[in-house]
Amino acid sequence: MTHTLHRYGKVDTLNDDLVFLSMSAKGFANEKGSGEKMKKTLEIAQKHNPVNIGDMKTGNILDMSVDEIMKNVVDTSIVHAVFNNIEDAAAFAKEVREADLGISLVISAPFDRAWKVSDMAGCTGHTIEYSGGIWGKTEKLPAPEVLEFTTMCGHGMISHYLVEDVIKRVKAGTMSPREGSLEIGKQCCCGVYNPDRSEKLLKALVDKK
């Protein structure tokens, strides 16, 4: 479960963080040949200004070319595309719906935005997953402003030590917010990290100092 579910942060920073994944159901009729359909999904994504693209089995465009990702997509892949505004997200979803690929498409976003994308794309929402928050020894967690970065990778591959180091370097002026954002984002290999949101978060932290 999860993956893109538990992205932490204030709604205003999440509003421009719209993440899609697409996959087939293993052992069901839409599995066979779904690799080609996922490639088509990524082709469509490229037309609508994505800020990240990736395949869980290969990597993301912050770390490799989109061609390398595309050539490795297979039936068991899970492909991703991230957008930084609702118009591009909805245009992407609409074109995927019109292509009638028959594989599942899931968006992670604030729910009001997800419904809006669904309506704009002519879809009918099918299933919803909620995050019920973090429980247990929460004193082991890094600071909330660090969690906003680390939870953009669903697999925990963004080290809070790296985020804290990047924040320090950006504040010191030895690294730009964009450079810092890309350095963090490349560790999220499946491509669900949003480098634009991350850059904005870094700029806001610098302005706060």
Binding site: M1, T2, H3, L5, H6, R7, Y8, L14, D17, S24, A25, F28, A29, N30, T76, I78, R97, L101, G102, I103, S104, L105, V106, I107, S108, P110, F111, A114, W115, V117, C123, G125, H126, T127, I128, E129, Y130, S131, G132, G133, I134, W135, K137, T138, K140, L141, L147, T150, T151, H155, G156, M157, I158, S159, H160, Y161, E164, Q187, C189, C190
Partner: protein, 236 residues
Amino acid sequence: MRVDPELCVGCGECLVYCPVGAIQLNDVAEIDQELCVECGDCRRAEVCPSDALIYEAHPWPRSVREAFSNPLAEHKETRVPGRGTEEMKTNDVRGLYGHGTIGVGAEVGRPGVSCNFHDVEKVTMALAKVGMQFAKDNPVTTNMVDTKTGKINPEIMDERVMSAIVEGTIPIEKLADVIKAAKEAATQIDSVFSLEFIDRPEADHSVPIEKILKEQGIACYPNGKFNLGLGRPLVQ
């Protein structure tokens, strides 16, 4: 993962890339094998100037560390890369959740804290007691010796992993009991878990579980996952 002391130049570049803080720097970098979850993140960062970070495939039971921590590793049972099942991602085709059947999950170790299977078992056994039906194709379930009690294979209990996702279903009328059991388990573990709930929306966009979650003091995030219903054949 280990560091080749002959190759390491002691620059310390790799330290901050380890999500669980397992790399220390003395004269050269060293990886604490107890803390290392075998996620491969340090090597993938490609910051080592002397290629001193060495990947090693481990035999059972240490092999579960990579399976539960490296997102590029695919679980044999599910053929899904990552740690969980397809869950709501393909519910438009599978039809596992909705119409009174709720998906429930607790990702132990998330976000970024990591855990061992003692922590995981405290959660699985608590949820089993209130009737959770564990997802058959989930990697935690396949490492249980008894799915009725939630008991985990004793051979893997001390293994540390980035996170392990406990997944299953419950009739909606048992959801409040599940939440109470999860809250109790939260007081017993030496880690954290992130909770999740899956349901289908009604035609007016309302979702049946929202009221129960609110009554049980679960303040859900304003964001989450939303299956757009494009899979075919579509489950109504």
